[in-house]
């Protein structure tokens, strides 16, 4: 591909107090890429994902979105956004789906989905509502739009959270273990929605423990170990003939 990547991370480091959790991770995501990030618990997957939109401030590194480098400045030991406007704009275009959904409990399902486009992007109310209903329909929650998040199952909540993210029309979506907080019988419905998004050609970075899902939908798989990229490549390569012994051991223990 000759086109510039939609998202590029260069040499991301992160140190918490005195533990270096990320030791220089680089990654490129082109439009339409679905990149799964695998690794054992504590390997730094979530931290890496959270560094991309600065939910966590990286200690070192560069974040380039659509060819534009995010301006960073030292803040203590870490780097923080030097231009809040730029960061905010970038966050509006990079969706984030959390392990614990984080829906807003005081708003109905529909209000949760409308909040971003209506109050952040300030789009016309009617247009926002129509779009929100369309998205809820797409994730299969249309009949529950007037319910509150606490009245829904975990799987339904996560699908609402995905709709909330989609409502911003993000160019890239980051998924942080979206099914890890779910009862096993609810995992499928969320993966189903994500599979549909992948088929639509959405650009996605997915931290997951769902190996068969990752193998099936990814264009690229990255295996992290102790804060470094230990293995990366096509699903076929990583799952069937990994170079790394650790990657092989990890996969055989979980998959």
């Amino acid at each position: 591909m000759s086109k510039a990547p939609a998202l590029e991370l260069i040499d991301i480091h992160k140190t918490f107090t005195d533990v270096e959790v990320l030791k220089g991770i680089s990654l490129k995501a082109y439009d339409g890429d679905v990149i799964s990030i695998l690794g054992s618990s504590g390997s730094g997957k979530s931290t890496f994902l959270r560094c991309i939109n600065l939910l966590e401030n990286p200690t070192k590194g560069e974040i380039i979105f659509n060819g534009e480098s995010l301006k960073l400045a030292s803040s203590g030991r870490d780097l923080a956004a030097a231009d809040m406007k730029q960061l905010t704009k970038m966050r509006q275009q990079i969706g984030f789906v959390f392990q614990s959904f984080n829906l807003w409990p005081h708003m109905t399902v529909l209000q949760n989905v409308m909040e971003g486009p209506a109050h952040v992007l300030k789009r016309p109310k009617q247009e926002v509502m129509d779009y929100a209903e369309h998205l809820l329909n797409k994730v299969g929650i249309a009949d529950k739009k007037h319910m509150y998040p606490n009245q829904l199952s975990g799987g339904q909540q996560q699908r609402v959270a995905i709709a909330r993210t989609l409502a911003m029309d993000p160019q890239v979506i980051l998924f942080d273990e979206p099914t890890s907080a779910l009862d096993p019988e609810l995992v499928g419905e969320v993966l189903g929605v994500m599979r549909k998004l992948a088929e639509e050609g959405r650009t996605m970075l997915i931290v997951t423990h769902e190996m068969s899902f990752a193998k099936e939908v990814s264009s690229e798989v990255v295996f992290l170990h102790k804060g470094v990229v230990e293995e990366k490549g096509t699903p076929d390569k990583v799952f069937n003939s990994p170079d790394s012994e650790r990657c092989r051991a990890f996969l055989s223990s979980t998959y």
Partner: protein
């Protein structure tokens, strides 16, 4: 209304003043409480110290003294400031303004703790979901955090309001024409202390009951969506 030796109207006027004082103090106190809580949770150390000094002093002084100190002190302070600008006339701080200041400060100091607890009870993920959407700090506070803080803080604030409502009686000592002072005036002219103090008590009780009903209604409204269905 019952005539009460001609003092019935007076007591009702007093009740109006009492309610006005309570509402104005509540407004001031809520703002101070939110600011105090924000300061206590701030990463800026001097702000934290300031808030701690505020709550420690105000909570450590009997409310009656706070009222007296504000009432007499405010005049001295204001006149000192005014004289710097060449203005030497006597400035009087009315009992109402002094009462709102004193009771607002008191309510704010206790409300600081209520709001602080409520702010801390909001999970980090609630902030992050808004941040990740590109919501600015102000909008996030207004749309996402405050409504949830409000729900958690309401019962505590309701209690503080009941205390505030009764503390308004202290402001009668500096001459505010509230229920308490009207009752005292009626007592000294009719020599019927039991009748008028009992009437005043019933009036405070009625105000308290109304407040409790309102708070319960607000709590119900604020907790929509919070119960598992």
């Amino acid at each position: 209304m019952i005539d009460l030796h001609g003092f019935g109207d007076q007591l009702l006027q007093g009740a109006l003043i009492t309610v006005e004082l309570a509402m104005a103090s509540l407004a001031v106190g809520l703002v101070l409480g939110l600011l105090g809580a924000a300061a206590k949770l701030s990463s800026i150390a001097p702000l934290r110290w300031l808030a701690t000094i505020y709550t420690t002093i105000v909570r450590g002084i009997p409310e009656l003294l706070t009222v007296l100190i504000i009432y007499f002190g405010a005049t001295i302070v204001l006149m000192a400031i005014a004289s710097q600008f060449g203005y030497d006339d006597y400035i009087e701080v009315g009992p109402f303004a002094a009462g709102v200041t004193a009771l607002g400060l008191t309510f704010g100091a206790y409300a600081t703790e209520v709001f602080r607890g409520a702010l801390q009870s909001i999970p980090k993920g609630q902030h992050e979901a808004a941040t990740a959407l590109g919501m600015g700090a102000f909008r996030k506070f207004q749309r996402i955090i405050l409504p949830q803080v409000w729900r958690v803080a309401l019962p505590g604030l309701g209690n503080l309001f009941l205390v505030l409502l009764k503390d308004t009686a202290l402001v009668s000592i500096v001459g505010l024409d509230d229920i308490m002072r009207k009752a005292n005036i009626a007592v000294s002219s009719t020599k019927q202390p039991f009748l008028f103090y009992a009437t005043a008590a019933v009036m405070y009780l009625l105000l308290t009951i109304i407040s409790m009903v309102v708070v319960t209604w607000l709590e119900k409204r604020a907790s929509r969506g919070m119960r598992r269905g």
